[in-house]
C-alpha cells in the first residue's frame, strides 16, 4: 500500500464534501420531479401512512402532507415567487413616520490594479419610511477587510495584500475628506439632530456624534432613490408599473442601457486596466441586481411584491427549495447559474424579507475578470446578509 505517513491532501476531503452535496441535491431534484410513493422511513406513524395512501400518488398532495422540499420544481418558479410576493403583501410594514432599522453585512470582491481586494462592511441603516417628506437615509458603516468565511484567504498572495492595503488606505483618505469638507448644506432638523448633506461629495452624516464613519449616501439631494437602475422621485415611483411583466420589461431595457454605458466606459479605460478585465458585467448581471437587490429605501410594499413576481421572467432563474442563511434562518431559495457563478437569494420563510444574497464561484475558468480566474472554487465574490431588522419609532441617540 502507499505510504500512509504522508498526510492526505485536503482536496480529497473537499471533493468528497462536494460530492455529498451534489448527490443530496441530485436526489432532492429527482424526488421532486418524479411521483414517488411515500418512503417507508417517513411514514412511521401508521395514521399518516393510510392518509397518504388514500391521497394517492399526487406529488403535490404528498408534498403538502410531508413537506417534502417546497414543491418548487413541480409547481414552478413562478408559483414559488408568487408565494414570496403574497407574503410581502401580508407582512407588517413600518408606518410613514417610523424608521426601518437594518443591520447588514456586505462583502465584495473587486479587481484592483495588480490583484484582488476583498472588502467587508457592516452597515447600520435607518431608513425613514415616508418618502414624500424626508428624502434621506443614514448609513453608519464600519468598513473592514474582513476575512471571508470558509478559509478563503482575504488576499490570494502577498502582492494582493500589498495592493489591497494601498487601495484601502486611499479609501480611508477619502473618508477624511468627507469629514472635513466645507460647504455643508443644512437640511431639516429631526429630533434635534442636524442632518447635513454635502452636495459635492454626496455624503450624509449626523453632526455632533463621535465615531460613525461617513459614507456616500444612496439617496441623492434632490429626493430621488434608485430602483431598477433608475433614479426616481416618489411621484415617479407611484407611476412605476405594478404588472410583473411590465416591470421585467422596463428593468430589462434599463439593464441594456446601463450595459451600453458600461461598455463605453470600458473602452475609455487605460489599456492596462482593460487588459486585466475580459468583460464587465453583462446585461443579465445588471438585470439580476435590479430584480433582486435590497434597496434600503422606503419602497411601497406592493411594488416590492410585484418585483418579486417579475423575477419569474428572468431566464435561468430556478426555485431551489429551502435554504438557510448564516444565522440558521430558513428561507425560500432561488438561484441563477451563469458563467461559472451561482447567484443565490434567500427570502425569509415567514416575512419574505430578503435575508441574504450571494454570488459563489463554481467554475473559476468562466470568470469574466482575469484576476478572478485563479480564485478557489467556492469563493464568494459578493454577499449581502441581513443580520437584524426592526421597526423604530424614533432614531436612537448615538454616543
Amino acid at each position: 500500500m502507499f505510504d500512509t505517513n504522508t498526510e492526505l491532501p485536503h482536496v480529497i476531503a473537499d471533493l468528497g464534501r462536494e460530492l455529498d452535496i451534489a448527490i443530496i441535491r441530485a436526489e432532492r431534484e429527482q424526488r421532486l420531479t418524479s411521483t414517488p410513493p411515500p418512503r417507508p422511513t417517513r411514514s412511521r406513524r401508521r395514521g399518516f401512512a393510510i392518509a397518504v395512501a388514500a391521497l394517492g400518488v399526487c406529488a403535490i398532495a404528498l408534498m403538502l402532507v410531508f413537506g417534502i422540499g417546497r414543491g418548487d420544481t413541480n409547481v414552478g418558479v413562478q408559483d414559488a415567487l408568487a408565494d414570496v410576493a403574497d407574503r410581502i403583501a401580508v407582512s407588517p410594514h413600518p408606518t410613514p413616520t417610523q424608521f426601518q432599522y437594518q443591520k447588514i453585512r456586505g462583502t465584495g470582491m473587486g479587481q484592483i490594479e495588480g490583484g484582488i481586494d476583498q472588502m467587508g462592511q457592516l452597515y447600520d441603516t435607518f431608513v425613514y419610511q415616508s418618502s414624500s417628506e424626508q428624502e434621506w437615509a443614514i448609513s453608519i458603516v464600519k468598513n473592514g477587510r474582513g476575512r471571508m468565511r470558509g478559509g478563503i484567504p482575504t488576499y490570494p498572495t502577498a502582492k494582493d495584500r500589498k495592493n489591497g492595503e494601498q487601495y484601502f488606505d486611499s479609501f480611508k483618505k477619502h473618508e477624511e475628506l468627507y469629514k472635513t469638507a466645507s460647504g455643508r448644506k443644512r437640511l431639516r432638523a429631526i429630533n434635534h439632530r442636524v442632518m447635513t448633506y454635502n452636495k459635492s461629495h454626496g455624503v450624509m452624516g449626523i453632526s455632533g456624534i463621535d465615531g460613525p464613519e461617513w459614507v456616500p449616501a444612496t439617496w441623492q439631494a434632490n429626493g430621488q432613490l434608485v430602483f431598477g437602475g433608475e433614479m426616481l422621485t416618489p411621484a415617479q415611483l407611484a407611476k412605476y408599473p405594478r404588472d410583473p411583466k411590465a416591470i421585467y420589461d422596463r428593468m430589462n431595457a434599463q439593464a441594456s442601457k446601463e450595459w451600453k454605458a458600461q461598455r463605453e466606459l470600458f473602452a475609455k479605460l487605460p489599456a492596462k486596466q482593460r487588459a486585466a478585465l475580459i468583460e464587465g458585467p453583462g446585461v443579465k448581471d445588471n438585470l439580476w441586481v435590479y430584480l433582486t437587490e435590497s434597496n434600503n429605501a422606503p419602497l411601497p410594499a406592493d411594488l416590492l411584491a410585484a418585483r418579486v413576481r417579475a423575477l419569474a421572467y428572468f431566464p435561468g432563474v430556478k426555485a431551489a427549495g429551502e435554504g438557510t442563511d448564516a444565522f440558521g434562518r430558513q428561507g425560500q431559495k432561488f438561484i441563477w447559474r451563469d458563467r461559472g457563478v451561482e447567484s443565490e437569494i434567500l427570502f425569509d420563510k415567514k416575512t419574505a424579507v430578503l435575508l441574504m444574497s450571494r454570488a459563489t464561484v463554481f467554475d473559476p475558468s468562466q470568470q469574466g475578470v482575469k484576476a478572478f480566474r485563479r480564485v478557489p472554487v467556492g469563493t464568494v465574490t459578493g454577499s449581502y446578509q441581513l443580520i437584524e431588522q426592526k421597526t423604530l419609532n424614533y432614531l436612537p441617540t448615538f454616543g
Binding site: L15, E18, L19, A22, I23, A26, V377
Partner: protein, 178 residues
C-alpha cells in the same frame, strides 16, 4: 447501489484512486478532475453496479475509461460533473506537494528517466516518436525506415520495459476484472 454506497466508496478508495490517476497523468489537477468525473459518473450509473463488494473494481473501470478519453483528448470531459452540479476543488501548492508524495511521482519520474536511458536507441526513438511527438504508426515507420509492423513492435516492447518500472499499489486483478 445507493448514494451512501457511492459516498462510502469515495471515502475508502479516493486516496488510492488519486494515486493511480496521478501516476498516469503526472498532473494533480487533472487527476482530481478525473476523480470527480469518475465518481459523478459512478453516482449516475450506480444502478448498474451489483453492490458495494465489487465497487472498487467498478469505479476503477470507470476511471480507466476516463483516462482513455483524457489521453485521447488531453482534457477531462465534465459531463457527469456538470449534470450533478459537482464543484471540483482546485489543487493548491501545498496539496500538490502532498499528492506528489502520495503518488511517489517524484521518485517515479527518476525511475522512468533511468529506464529510458537503459532502452536501446531503436526502442527509445520509437517511443519518443509515438508517445512524445504523437506521430501515427505510419509516420513512425517512415521516420525510422521500417515497416509499420516493426514500428508497432518496437513501441510495444519499449512500453513493456517501462511498465516494469512503474511499481503500482493497485493489484493487477483489480484492473483486469473490469
Amino acid at each position: 447501489m445507493t448514494h451512501e454506497d457511492i459516498s462510502a466508496l469515495y471515502s475508502e478508495h479516493s486516496p488510492l484512486l488519486l494515486r493511480y490517476l496521478m501516476r498516469r497523468t503526472f498532473d494533480a489537477q487533472a487527476a482530481v478532475e478525473l476523480m470527480a468525473e469518475t465518481f459523478a459518473t459512478a453516482y449516475e450509473k450506480r444502478a448498474a453496479c451489483n453492490g458495494p463488494e465489487v465497487g472498487r473494481a467498478w469505479v476503477f473501470g470507470i476511471a480507466n475509461n476516463m483516462l482513455l478519453d483524457f489521453y485521447r483528448s488531453g482534457k477531462t470531459e465534465r459531463r457527469a460533473v456538470d449534470r450533478i452540479g459537482l464543484a471540483v476543488p482546485e489543487v493548491h501548492d501545498d496539496d500538490l506537494e502532498r499528492i506528489e508524495d502520495l503518488a511517489g511521482t517524484a521518485e517515479l519520474r527518476g525511475a522512468v528517466a533511468t529506464a529510458l536511458r537503459d532502452l536501446s536507441d531503436k526502442h527509445r526513438t520509437a517511443l519518443e516518436l509515438r508517445v512524445v511527438q504523437e506521430r501515427s504508426y505510419e509516420e513512425v515507420a517512415g521516420a525510422m525506415g521500417v515497416s509499420e509492423d516493426v514500428a508497432r513492435a518496437r513501441v510495444s516492447r519499449a512500453l513493456k520495459k517501462l511498465k516494469g518500472v512503474v511499481e503500482d499499489a493497485v493489484p493487477v486483478e483489480v484492473i483486469e476484472n473490469v
